[in-house]
């Protein structure tokens, strides 16, 4: 596939890795924010190419993983409403809420459908005029404009039975929260490539300015990731943290203006609860009052209390980058992809599932 295969060249990859090895002298702890990067780093064996001075830890960039148990409970309540059809992206159906999962609610008769696109949820709404369709809007800035587009399209088509439960989250505010907590030492951040296609690189300016930490926006092919690590290692060695764009074929400084203005039109920032991190101010997207007719939370209300994490589950520590998956006592024994306890083992992009799939024991 064009723009994929060229960025897989193993000879160039090894040479880039050699360059990193030669340059890296100081212990350097990098966080890859995005679960897609965690998956790619393990899949392509990038960790094995890095010198011992450079360590990578996973961040909270997995929307399925950071959805709070309370929000799962609300989604289940939506599914249990009469005439409701809940439409959701992939792995969310298996994530445990405080007592239950959407998968188990479906087994008991609720109508829960896995969709690929918000467009599919619109089609379901058109095909079932007597039902209330609730799209579980999870995701980051990458997905937010597509959900906004679906709401605008529902309005254009005059659909009265399409609603969104917005669990959308924003990347820069949670990065700020992680850096400000000081819990995890981070010398550089590999920033999410496809979030950045939408928001651009400018929203990361505060990272070097306020925290003295460098960051590099990266694509998802092996050469892209190695180049981002290379840039961060050079920044650490020279003591010059900055925002670097290592994915210029897809990312511009201002991002995608059309996508950003659609997000702005339909949503406004709100506080949001992140699993394992807590409530982060201004890190969520709520549907604006003008679009209240499409807002499932107005219909469902709030007030479901979080019951915390399942016993022994340390997904919260993994999501903050302060624990590697194999350091959790449940990893691989009480918690496996077949029988996951926490969300990081449920989602394919969860750090625990990625470590397990590619046999990264330590």
């Amino acid at each position: 596939m064009r723009f994929v295969d060229e960025f897989h060249d193993p000879v160039l990859a090894r040479k880039l890795a050699n360059r990193i090895q030669r340059a890296s002298k100081k212990p350097t702890r990098l966080m890859e924010f995005c679960g897609g990067h965690t998956h790619a780093i393990l899949r392509y064996g990038i960790r094995d190419l890095l010198p011992p001075t450079v360590t990578m830890s996973s961040g909270p960039g997995c929307p399925v993983c950071v959805t709070s148990p309370g929000d799962i409970d609300r989604a289940i309540r939506a599914a249990q409403t009469q005439e409701a059809i809940v439409a959701t992206y992939g792995d969310l159906v298996r994530v445990p809420g405080s007592r239950d999962s959407l998968e188990r609610a479906r087994a008991r008769g609720s109508d829960v459908r896995v969709i690929y696109s918000a467009l599919d949820a619109l089609s379901i709404a058109e095909q079932h005029p007597g039902s209330q369709i609730v799209l579980l809007g999870i995701g980051f800035e990458t997905t937010a404009p597509t959900v906004a587009a679906s709401i605008l399209e529902a309005r254009r088509r005059g659909l009265k039975n399409y609603r969104v439960l917005s669990l959308l989250k924003l990347t820069p505010p949670v990065m700020r929260a992680l850096l400000a907590s000081g819990e995890t030492r981070i010398d550089g951040i590999v920033c999410p490539g496809h979030v950045s296609v939408v928001i651009g690189t400018l929203p990361y300016d505060f990272i070097p300015r306020d925290f003295g930490v460098g960051c590099a926006v990266s694509g998802f092919e092996p050469l892209d990731i190695l180049r981002a690590i290379d840039v961060l290692v050079q920044q650490v060695e020279s003591g010059t943290p900055a925002v670097a764009n290592a994915y210029p074929r897809a990312v511009a400084a201002n991002g995608n203006r059309t996508a950003r203005s659609l997000i702005e039109e339909v949503f406004e920032p709100c506080d949001a609860a992140w699993r394992g991190i807590g409530v982060v101010p201004g890190s969520g997207l709520a549907i604006r009052p003008e679009f209240a007719a499409f807002d499932a939370s107005a219909v469902l209300g709030f007030g479901v209390e979080d019951a915390g994490e399942p016993a022994g589950c340390r997904c919260g520590d993994v999501l903050r980058g302060s624990l590697t998956p194999s350091e959790c006592s449940l990893y691989g024994t009480g918690c496996t992809p077949e029988h996951p306890v926490g969300p990081c083992m449920v989602s394919q992009e969860g750090a625990c599932a990625a470590h397990y799939a590619y046999g990264a024991g330590s």
Binding site: R19, G35, D120, T142, T143, P145, T146, R249
Partner: protein
């Protein structure tokens, strides 16, 4: 979840387009990329094009990788 893959635009009809996604034809939404043209490569995410790939930038990045690789050989 933030997975996006390259897709080549084959034809455009209003806010929809037909695209070649790794050899498979799909209808996709192009509302977020209004300036896209037939022949362009976009990044496809959950049924929508979220950005247009710049082929000149891609070539420059590959040239930079080759250059960095050579320098690391000489040293």
């Amino acid at each position: 979840m933030c997975l996006a893959i390259p897709a080549r635009i084959i034809s455009i009809e209003g806010e929809d387009a037909e695209a070649d996604v790794g050899g498979v034809r799909r209808r996709i939404g192009i509302m977020l990329t209004p300036s896209v043209k037939v022949g362009d490569y976009v990044l496809l995410h959950t049924g929508y094009a979220i950005g247009v790939i710049d082929p000149a930038e891609a070539e420059e990045t590959l040239a930079l990788f080759r250059e960095l690789a050579e320098v690391s050989e000489i040293r």
